[in-house]
């Protein structure tokens, strides 16, 4: 394989990117300004938090640097998990479903060039978001620990192989799965992937045992605590090598072995992936092309009775949404992952040390309030995965919806309710379960339940709105849609909304908790203003994006 052959195969993709930049320049200026604005705020937010944390760690003698290293290790481990899952999903699309494959596979193109080009495509598609997230974190480390002018290069030298390793492993894993499982279930391979990932997440959390770090008093001695901090989570994981390499540079202790391990492992895995590709790809690609024939269950009447009161068009839209969702394994299988994530989340909340001696009513009730931020993140991620792509998924059938006398309002609201109701149930489940586990007061339970309900509606409205304003009609793989430009914008806006809601409610919650704990006077006005403002914000975030989306849909031409 020559670099020219590789570039030739990547050529159309590069030209597409260039053409998008040129032709869409006028219409995109607003979007780019919006994106850069929200992106800068988001970066500043992440940078600010990490930098503040690191500044605090730096002042802790003996263990400060160890804590900073452990934190980086935890972040990188979660990135590694995300990258692995993202690469597996993306590889299914780039190696087996993409529309250019018929042309490539049918041509006498060099197999190694095809593998190389598709590996690069997979790596870029699945890693850019992690890279964007990692940038402010690594910058904070560099500035907090005076990394020097060479630090960006050192960080880059650690990150590049860190991105290549999961890409090579993920593509090889997908290739093996497509070969092993029956051809008619190619897409359903994702369910296996999801279950494996779910297991991986549980295992990773148990390996880390983060709760131990919160309660140093649980260790027999400081020596034990230090031993845990010093011990690598797993010396075989690339995230650990990146952490050692980068922290080694920042603490002037130098760890060249980490870089050797990162680069040699990346190179070996690419070679291994190429060998598997040569041996198995042709057969796997052929299997992946066969359709998945399957008979659906005969029509049930239960749904008809349950939905009988809804007008015909809306009823059929709702039924269609449910059928399409639950018959697509690539969709519902990710719910398994979701359930595992939620259980891990609740389990970890249960382990929070909030019932010991000295833990006051104030703290015990403040933590569940802040817990709303984490619950909000979980819900925003789910909305990004399941609600954001819902309009994009109509791309190929747009002709049918647009040519029929269907009102776009009906379409959007059907999608909103089908996605939102399960989300509200989940949100209430999470918050109620954590409130009960933590023994929160009735008032705070009411606040958290009310807040999470309104926040869920707002997140759903934002997801449907952004998904309509920034649709991805041409994507072959639904799982990739949330990683688009619009998906990222949605996540940033969702995080901003969660932050703003919590900030608006912080004052009234503080007033209540202070009054209960310290007997200070209850300022009713500030409570009414705070809660009303948060409620109004959530309502605006629910309806405004849908209004904008409606206008966009009515003008949409395909």
């Amino acid at each position: 394989m020559t670099p020219a052959a590789l570039l030739h195969i990547l050529g159309p993709k590069l030209q597409t990117v260039r053409a998008r930049g040129r032709h869409g320049a006028r219409g995109r200026t607003g979007r780019v300004v919006l994106f850069v604005g929200i992106g800068a705020l988001f970066w500043a937010f992440i940078f600010g938090i990490v930098f503040r944390l690191l500044s605090y760690f730096k002042n802790v003698p003996e263990i400060g640097t160890l804590l900073a290293a452990k934190l980086l290790g935890l972040v990188l481990l979660s990135f590694f998990g995300l990258l692995l899952l993202s690469n597996i999903i993306t590889a299914l699309s780039t190696f087996f479903l993409a529309r250019d494959l018929d042309l490539l596979v049918g041509s006498p193109a060099d197999w190694l060039a095809v593998y190389g080009a598709k590996l690069i495509e997979t790596t870029v598609n699945s890693s850019w978001m992690v890279l964007l997230m990692a940038a402010p974190i690594f910058t904070a480390y560099g500035i907090a620990y005076d990394g020097g002018w060479w630090y960006p290069l050192v960080a880059l030298a650690a990150i590049v192989p860190f991105l290549i390793i999961p890409a090579a492993v993920g593509t090889a894993f997908t290739l093996l799965l497509v070969n092993i499982f029956p051809a008619r279930r190619t897409r359903e391979v994702l369910s296996i992937i999801t279950i494996v990932s779910a297991g991986g997440i549980v295992l990773a959390f148990r390996l880390l045992r983060p709760e131990r770090l919160i309660r140093p008093e649980g260790f027999r001695s400081l020596v034990d605590f230090l031993a845990v901090l010093r011990t690598p989570t797993s010396p075989l994981l690339p995230s650990e090598w990146v952490q050692s390499g980068v922290v080694g540079w920042l603490t002037y202790e130098g760890d060249p072995l980490s870089f050797v391990l990162l680069w040699s492992t990346a190179a070996a895995l690419v070679v291994f992936g190429a060998l598997i590709h040569r041996a198995l790809y042709a057969r796997a690609f052929s299997k992946a092309q066969e359709s998945a024939g399957r008979t659906a269950a005969p029509r049930g009447r239960i749904a008809d009775v349950m939905l009988g009161l809804i007008p015909i068009t809306r009823r059929e839209l709702v039924l269609k949404e449910f059928r399409v969702f639950f018959r697509d394994t690539t969709q519902w299988s990710q719910l398994i992952l979701l359930v595992v994530l939620v259980l891990v989340y609740i389990f970890n909340v249960r382990l929070l040390p909030l019932r010991g001696d000295g833990v006051t009513f104030f703290l015990a009730n403040m933590v569940p309030f802040l817990n709303l931020i984490l619950a909000g993140f979980v819900l925003a991620s789910i909305a990004a995965r399941f609600l954001f792509p819902t309009v994009s998924m109509e791309g190929r059938t747009w002709w049918l919806l647009k040519a029929s006398p269907l009102s776009m309002r009906d379409l959007l609201w059907a999608k909103f309710w089908v996605g939102t109701l399960p989300l509200v149930l989940l949100a209430l489940g999470i918050v109620f379960a954590t409130d009960v586990l933590l023994g929160v007061s009735e008032f705070m339970t009411a606040v958290s339940v009310g807040t999470i309900t309104l926040m869920t509606f707002a997140l759903a409205g934002l997801a449907i709105g952004f998904g309509t304003i920034f649709p991805q009609f041409e994507t072959e793989n639904v799982a990739q849609i949330p990683t688009s430009f619009g998906g990222l914008l949605f996540m940033m806006t969702a995080i901003a909304l969660i932050g703003a809601t919590i900030i608006l409610e912080a004052r009234p919650v503080y007033v209540y908790l202070s009054a209960r704990s310290f007997g200070t006077p209850m300022d009713a006005t500030s409570m009414v203003i705070g809660f009303s403002a948060a409620g109004a914000l959530c309502l605006v975030a629910t309806f405004a994006p849908i209004r904008l989306a409606l206008r966009r849909l009515e003008r949409l031409e395909r």
Binding site: R294, T295, A296, I312, T397, W398, W399, L400, A403, R555
Partner: protein, 251 residues
């Protein structure tokens, strides 16, 4: 009835459809022919309400599409050239869903759906997911769906693509029978034999404008030729392509 008045569609500086005036009365099967990129699909998609005209109007069964899109669309059935449908619905569910979009449901729709599926040899496949259908079967399902709500007007873009000879013949009979009952069909096709034998009137479009319009006899008279539709078509739209192909192959 379909009435187009000064119908125009521009994409930036490019004009895809340039001020088309056309009336297709009740009971007529109208053929819309032209080379690739002539503006046929754009015109049909504007009639179906999928694309909005840059200027001009579309009337379906006497209803202005821009002023009352819901009423106009409820009179219309659209069959696109590419059979993209929900892969995870069965054939029967898809027909039920389409009927629901036109606010129709119940026993009558169930019966009609079954009849249409049987007509197109899809009866045995009615409970199979669309993802297991072949290209031709999907096309047949879409054609069936265009009839399920009993529209007055049907707009068809390339109906014969992907159909086997039996289905193609069935479709021709269905179309003729349908217009004989006072309904209207406007159809674009590249299969000139189909247009010649099936259509009451034909328009030949090029670069977004109608170059010739009339019955086969009128087209022959206009072209001052006794030739078939292919000859007339090539004469009106330019026949240099075939000669160039020979030169390229010989080179």
């Amino acid at each position: 009835m379909i009435r187009l008045s000064r119908l125009t569609k521009r994409y930036g500086d490019f004009t895809a459809v340039a001020g088309v005036d056309l009336v297709v009365p009740r009971g007529e099967l109208f053929g819309f022919l032209g080379p690739n990129g002539a503006g046929k699909t754009t015109t049909l998609r504007m009639i179906a309400g999928i694309l909005q005209p840059s200027s001009g109007t579309v009337e379906i069964a006497g209803i202005d599409l821009a002023k009352d899109p819901m009423a106009a669309k409820s009179k219309l059935g659209f069959i696109p050239d590419r059979p993209f449908i929900y892969e995870k619905l069965t054939g029967a569910e898809f027909l039920r869903f389409v009927a629901g979009l036109y606010r129709q449901s119940g026993a009558d729709i169930e019966r009609r759906g079954d009849e249409l599926l049987a007509l197109f040899d899809l009866g045995e496949w009615k409970n199979e997911l669309v993802e297991s259908y072949s290209h031709g079967m999907r096309q047949k399902l879409i054609i069936a769906s265009a009839f399920v709500h009993r529209p007055e007007v049907i707009v068809v873009d390339e109906p014969m693509v992907g159909l086997d000879p039996k289905a193609a013949r069935l479709l021709k009979e269905l179309f003729r029978e349908y217009v004989s009952r006072g309904n209207t069909i406007m159809m674009s096709t590249h299969t000139l034999e189909v247009a010649e034998t099936l259509c009451d009137r034909i328009a030949i479009v090029q670069k977004g404008t109608i170059r010739a319009l009339g019955t086969m006899e009128e087209l022959r008279a206009n072209a001052r030729s006794g030739a078939d539709l292919e000859e007339i078509f090539l004469r009106l739209t330019g026949e240099s392509g075939a000669r160039t192909a020979v030169q390229v192959l010989d080179a």
